[in-house]
Assembly symmetry: C2
Homo-oligomer: 241 residues x 2
């Protein structure tokens, strides 16, 4: 199931069939990681590039006092450490949040992929989007209310998961605990819980356990001041003249 990878890259840049086949061949089946395992640990050096085929993970940093900050989500199709072999040690860790299928590509694989112009461009784009997401998260933490922060993350997940076929038009399964949401948006578990309650109270979301339904997507986006253009998906670009 490397279709999510192709889907994700094609959301950024169109790919010839040949490139899709190459991608499919190179990625293969992948290795299975258990939930909670590190894909790459903080401070590790890695020669290989990890790609999420199936499952969810996150990037994180740990502080001396044990606090943790989540600095990115990994969803199917994400290249975790495209640049990893350039660095001698990773400045952050990556962990599997659910059971994951992970492809491990060598530098030769990457060179093979990046020798194709369309693929190289798509991968380059995906790195630009990663940086854009970091910038948007910074805005989220710095300048939005707790409820809006949580709402913004939910909006982003909705869109990102839709691209890889893991969300419907109005909902998805949230693969995160409230503690992990808090480590993402800079709040405590208690505050995240109350923020979610407020969102439920104002009917912006409906929750059944980890299943999130968004009755009025436009309303939630408005509340969160969510503007998907930072994700730089092609459809956003083509919507405009």
């Amino acid at each position: 199931m490397s279709t999510s990878i192709i889907g994700k890259l094609e959301a950024l840049h169109p790919l010839p069939d040949k490139d899709k086949k190459l991608l499919h061949a190179v990625v293969g089946r992948g290795r299975t990681l258990k939930s909670g395992e590190d894909i790459v640990s903080e401070g590790d050096h890695t020669d290989i590039v990890h790609v999420i085929i199936e499952g969810h993970g996150y990037r994180y940093k740990t502080l001396a006092d044990g606090k943790r900050q989540i600095i990115g989500y990994l969803v199917p199709g994400d290249f975790c450490d495209l640049y990893g072999f350039l660095l001698d040690k990773m400045d952050h860790g990556m962990a599997a949040r659910t059971q994951c299928q992970i492809a491990e590509l060598t530098e030769e694989h990457i060179l093979m992929l990046t020798s194709r112009p369309a693929l190289a461009r798509a991968l380059w784009w995906s790195e630009l989007v990663n940086a854009a997401i970091l910038r948007e998260w910074l805005v989220n933490m710095g300048r939005r209310s707790p409820s809006a922060r949580v709402a913004h993350i939910l909006c982003e997940l909705l869109v990102r998961l839709q691209v890889v076929g893991q969300a419907t038009a109005d909902g998805f399964k949230l693969e995160l605990s409230q503690a992990e949401l808090g480590d993402t948006v800079g709040l405590t578990t208690v505050s995240v819980n109350r923020a979610l309650q407020r969102l439920r109270g104002s009917k912006l979301i409906v929750q059944a356990g980890r299943e999130i339904t968004i009755p009025d997507v436009a309303a939630l986006k408005r509340f969160a001041a969510f503007d998907p253009s930072y994700l730089h998906f092609r459809q956003d670009r083509e919507d405009r003249p």
Copy 2:
């Protein structure tokens, strides 16, 4: 004075003399921007790559309600939008904080530079560092106390400005108002002011207007939990076996 550019890139990756000469020739003198002007505005498309030769700036995003979040500092040697011509619109703006000398490189210039392996690698590195800084800022906002946030920013500026010869071993000129510091770390002006007072009170910094002196750099770094490895400078790498 494109020495800062060379200094900055060489801090990441060694460059042959030939490449330095090329860089020098391509960058030239640059255009002068007045303090407060936008280098590139939010939503703009730009075909050219802007490089800071002299002066200080920042990246920012503005929210609908007028709040602003600063999402990066631009110091001499920084390539503002290396990837800009790929995007059809910038997802954030860049502004000059002081009077600036800005070089404007065309796509041909960039292709000329990136055809040199060492230069290409250095530029690639600089983008990796930009992303690493964003991740560290996320940790800063999410999980550190107000004083530690401000202290961390000061530590980062000390190190980054040292690389381009704009800081001494224990101090530099802070080209930011307290309001701008607040827009960086997610605090109000009042809170930034009080955070700085606490830092002064505990003798971690000495201020004479915008001139910052750090009597005990190690102490400030300890207080801020500042680990410069995320900046990926060569000296850090070579310090270790």
